[in-house]
Amino acid sequence: MSHQSDLIATDIEGYLAEHEDKDLLRFLTCGSVDDGKSTLIGRLLHDSHMIYEDQLEAVKADSTTQGSTGGELDLSLLMDGLKAEREQGITIDVAYRYFSTKRRKFIIADTPGHVQYTRNMVTGASTAQLAVVMVDARHGVLPQTKRHSTIAHLLGIKHVVVAINKMDLVDWSQQAFDQIRKEYEQFTAELGATFDAYFLPMSALTGDNVVNPSENMPWFDGVPLMEHLETVDVASDRDYDRLRLPVQLVSRPDLDFRGFQGTIASGVLRPGDRVTVLPSGVSSTIERIVTFDGDQDLAGPGDAVTVTLTDEIDVSRGDVFVHDPKSMQRAHKVDAMLVWMAETPLRTGASYLLQSTGGLSNAHVPTIRYQLDMDTLDRVEPEKLELNSIARVAVEVDREFLFDPYERNRTTGSFILVDRLTNATVAAGMVVGKSSAWDQEAIETLQRAVSLVTPTERATRFAQQPATILLTGLTGAGKSTIAKALERRLFDSGRVTVRLDGQNVRQGVSRDLGFTAPDRSENVRRVAEVGRLLNDQGIIAIAAMLAPDAEDRERARDVVGSHRFIEVHVDTPMEVCRERDPGGLYSALENGAVIDLPGVSSTYDRPTDPDLVTTDWDRTADEAAEEIVDLMRERGMLRGGTPAPADDPDGGEVNTGRPD
């Protein structure tokens, strides 16, 4: 295997030292049949000298009998595996290939681009950090290109190389390249994917821009594929902040030792760290990180470790060690993207085994929310979920499911479904989040009535861009007071607003809701939806409500649209809120009443990234309102306008004191 380096012959120990420090990149190649994928991989291996002469001889022999290059060396023949496939001239499974350079070892998941592509590509993509998407320069961005990119996006791949191949057949034309690049960028914008994309004009056949820079394309100033693969930064893809250590095994070799073994999915761990084991919620301290090579004082993502604790607590397979117990989610019912991988379609309601880092549980799929049409990428009403289809579904798990959204963690956010009878792996799932009213899809047959008045007309008439301002904070923080001051100011300067006070909403729109977490969540959803309706008609909505759950606020932002949404944290010290105690809730709680009061008897997630933080405690409500107006002005929401005095429309409202 002649890795090309003079060091091998002259200084082997030097060479070995040089190669000790390599890191690893797992990537995926995808393309339609005949885009040149096999040729490309063959060339990467060939040009990095990973092909032995006896293998090459075999390919040469095959090139004459089976090749498609008219007897010339057909590198694509290196890539086919099983006999049956070779005879059919197609590849029908994921094949893994290996090569390495001085800087990196590479694992290629080679997936074919036809019929079975979804299952195979999803499998290959699940462990890949980068995808090479092959595009034939003559054909440009095809539906397949879009499908492949959609899957890469779905599976959480962050880096993409758009390899525009067969440039030799379009006269090495920069124009052709630019055109395809533009098309692809447009498409990813539609897809909502934020790939780190590298566009590369290439010829796998001639080798231009594969390993060596192309002399035929002097207009291209990027590096060839190999160099890009060697240098693309994947280390920072890892999450070093949120500790997740799922326990695989409990090790008890003798009475004195009790260790917990597993691979760190994310985060960093040190002896002395205070950790909590989920789902039990019991805390302890890491005593040692034990390895065969001695104790470690630091472990990070990907490390297979054994830890011991300072206390004897119950820990078993499927439990997860975390630093922050609240950072991981749990639910019986989650929404997930599901890729169906079996010949027999999904049976909704039937029981499957769900395997995740949390171990095995019974689960079923009660609802298919929509299916992704892989040709148009539209969401369609599914009849049934068949082999190679992708859908958003609800999954119900019989014991509480511990997870992170897949977007945040590919290890703790993924699962497979296993058929109970055949034991086959029938589906791959990526958790979106807890299922809730937020996920309920509207009935498909409804149509949206489009207004005859345009947004521009409204903006001109009202002298404003619509927005929804959410004032969130503890009971007694001053949300309503600031909301009223804000309303006054905006009204006085001629703006059109609607104030949605939590208290008021609860007396009407949300009269049916209580104060449990799901009910609060639904209340926020309704206000967000109303905010959106108002915004659609040009009006500024001012919502004052507790909204204690960070996820709800995030989802409200999604409903309204992030460009229109302003999250204001009314951050008044707890002592002050207690002191004010508007509805007497704090004192009631102190006196032993059982009330759900966020911030005291239940959680209030402090906003981590609000658009504005203010209060009416060390400044007046008016000053706080002014800060909000300034921010709105800064964002171009308030333009021109004439002050028009008016009275407060709904002055005397009751403050029932219940936190909304």
Binding site: A9, Y15, D23, V94, D110, S126, T306, H323, S414, I416
Partner: protein, 312 residues
């Protein structure tokens, strides 16, 4: 809470080399097997890949002992040095080692000279392995095979499903996603597990070098008695070897790139007597590793046929 973040650690300290990552992956796989199966076993062939696999297993279960036995399928035609090495390692590391010999081999004197490499391998190796797996009621068996060894292995799973007859059906393999390995089997069925799937020959050698793993001396060059047959150097390891007319063993400086049954394993002429020199030769070599195994010569795709029958 003494939560460490990237601010106080720095990504560099958490950077892992490719070998560390491969090691962690193998450890993860092995632990998964022990957690999911009732009766795992490690197929131990005494070769360098087995030595690496054993080393990784010790790491995976440290400070405990291996939670499964080792199984060596002895064709009775292994190099003597292999058996000596095996017994010494098993004793030093206090391993539970089972040896399996197909009774037919002894009873009928099955050997590679009279029965041809194919027929001999089927009886002494494939059948013996199947018998041992059935007798031990093992539901998972670790093997040291790598995907880079042979074309048909490129698509092999880490958890490779075998039916109750130990047969491998390429159409009946499970998709393998993330690091979630589906080890569910019905009674009699089993899984072959390949924790070294993603390692290449170079990775193996480099790891042996870095971790200072002991391997059978046959990998290092020494003067050994050999005869040359059809361009292949075969070592005359004991007096059961049948010399043909005019054949005279001669001492040559040779070593082995793979180890199997001595009459079926070709030696290469070499003076490489240290690991770096072996690696050097390997890197400068122009032929692939399996070439030294007579068994692969038969036909293209023959490994695949062997696999269907139950030999790896």
């Amino acid at each position: 809470m003494s939560e460490a973040t990237t601010e106080d650690v720095g990504i560099d300290e958490l950077r892992r080399t490719h070998l560390k990552q491969l090691e962690a992956e193998a450890i993860h796989i092995m632990r998964e097997v022990v957690a999911q199966f009732e009766r795992p076993v490690m197929l131990y062939s005494i070769g360098k890949d087995s030595s690496v696999m054993l080393h990784l297993a010790r790491k995976a279960f440290h400070p405990g002992r291996l939670p499964f036995p080792l199984l060596h399928v002895n064709t009775t035609w292994k190099f003597r040095e292999m058996i000596e090495f095996r017994d010494r390692i098993a004793e030093e590391l206090e391993l539970e080692l089972h040896e399996k010999i197909n009774p037919r081999v002894v009873e009928e004197g099955i050997n590679p000279f009279d029965h041809g490499s194919q027929g001999y391998t089927t009886i002494a190796k494939t059948d013996a392995l199947k018998q041992a797996l059935t007798e031990g009621r093992y539901d998972a068996a670790f093997g040291g095979a790598r995907r880079d060894e042979e074309k048909s292995r490129a698509k092999e799973r880490v958890f490779s499903f075998r039916d109750s007859k130990h047969r491998w059906d390429p159409k009946n393999q499970r998709p393998e996603l993330w690091s979630l390995y589906n080890g569910r089997v019905n009674k009699g069925e089993s899984i072959r597990v390949f924790p070294l799937s993603n390692w290449t020959e170079l990775d193996i050698w480099q790891y042996i070098y870095l971790e200072d793993i002991e391997i059978v001396p046959l990998y290092y060059s020494a003067e050994r008695p050999v005869v040359e047959r059809d361009g292949t150097l075969i070592m005359v390891d004991d007096d059961r070897f049948r010399l043909e007319e005019g054949e005279e063993p001669e001492l040559r400086s040779v070593r082995f790139r793979t180890l199997g049954c001595y009459p079926l394993t070709g030696a290469v002429e070499s003076t490489a007597d240290t690991l770096p020199r072996i690696i050097q030769e390997m890197l400068l070599a122009t032929n692939s590793e399996r070439e030294g195994r007579v068994i692969d010569y038969d036909a293209q795709g023959s490994m695949e046929d062997k696999k269907r029958e139950g030999y790896f």
